[in-house]
């Protein structure tokens, strides 16, 4: 292994898991941004069209965002 080029030496088992962890965190981060966009979208929709489900739909959007944030935190702490 000592004679292997530095690029190959990078692929130790620890680094592979670290790279995978960063990949997962990035995926959860992207999802959290998506959840923020959904909340924005719901606000726009509800302001455009008022109906009796406004409150419920807004709540679902915020819950979805809360779960996405918790999942991101879990990924950072657990992985």
């Amino acid at each position: 292994m000592d004679s292997a080029p530095p690029f190959v030496q990078f692929f130790t088992i620890e680094n592979v898991w670290l790279a995978l962890k960063l990949g997962y965190i990035l995926a959860f981060l992207v999802y959290m941004v998506f959840a923020v966009v959904v909340v924005t979208q719901i606000r726009l929709m509800v302001n455009t069209l008022h109906c009796q489900m406004d409150g419920l739909i807004k709540t679902v959007g915020w819950l979805h965002l809360a779960v996405a944030i918790l999942a991101l935190l879990a990924a950072i702490l657990i992985l």
């Binding site: 966009v37 069209l49 008022h50």
Partner: protein, 229 residues
């Protein structure tokens, strides 16, 4: 107010009266829309206002208001895509929800440590939830209105872009109904194409229930407006 009779506990005419009396009577809105409600009553005497929030076809919808509505504008008919058009994404959502069961037969994540396996499932279910939520919102908020003044198509094309297309009733030039295919024929839904002289040459009511009835109402409304001048 002309005699508007619906065979229901709360007739459409009464709902219209209540809606109008809330804030618009002073502005003469009641008078302005009474003729249109008569037309509605003559084309769809059996239809009642629907308080069900998931309704796809409702005359004088009682709890819906669009921000583009003008002060003297009353929603006479509200349409959404037929419920059956949701079957595709509902099935996809169910398959996505049940997909992790495959892992008990094919341990695809076995190579990963336990914590990665758990977070993979969390990510998968989040993506599934996001997919279902997006599809539902896209269906729920894509509505078509026929008001006493205009036809309006409210659509949200992607996450933060909304499209509102409208044309005055008097600007309507042609109305075409297309019910194409076995399933649309079976469930009585289809497209209503409205050619207009407005900036947007065509407004399309996409996959709406009872398209012929909606088109007939539009035709009658157009005739009424032409007569009224």
């Amino acid at each position: 107010m002309p005699n508007v009779v619906y065979d229901a506990n709360k007739p459409a005419g009464d709902v219209a009266d209540e809606k109008l009396s809330e804030k618009d009577q002073a502005e003469g809105k009641q008078e302005a829309s009474s003729g249109e409600i008569d037309v509605l009553n003559s084309v769809m005497p059996e239809e009642k206002p629907q308080s069900n929030p998931f309704t796809t076809f409702s005359v004088l919808p009682p709890y819906i208001h669009a921000d583009v509505q003008k002060s003297d504008e009353v929603i006479l008919l509200m349409l959404r895509r037929h419920v059956i058009t949701n079957v595709g994404w509902v099935l996809t959502g169910l398959i996505m929800l049940l997909a992790p069961l495959v892992l008990s037969f094919f341990p695809l994540l076995e190579a990963l440590p336990g914590r990665f396996q758990g977070m993979t499932l969390v990510l998968w279910y989040l993506i599934t939830t996001g997919f279902i939520l997006e599809q539902f919102l896209s269906w729920y908020f894509h509505v078509f209105f026929i008001t006493n003044r205009r036809v309006i198509d409210i659509d949200f094309l992607n996450l933060i872009y909304k499209s509102i297309t409208s044309a005055k009733i008097q600007q309507i030039q042609d109305i075409t109904v297309r019910v194409k295919g076995v399933i649309p024929s079976l469930f009585n839904y289809g497209n209503v194409y409205i050619q207009t002289a407005a900036a947007t040459p065509e407004i399309r009511f996409d996959k709406v229930p009872q398209p012929k009835k909606a088109a007939r109402f539009l035709n009658e409304l157009l005739a009424y407006h032409s007569k009224k001048g």
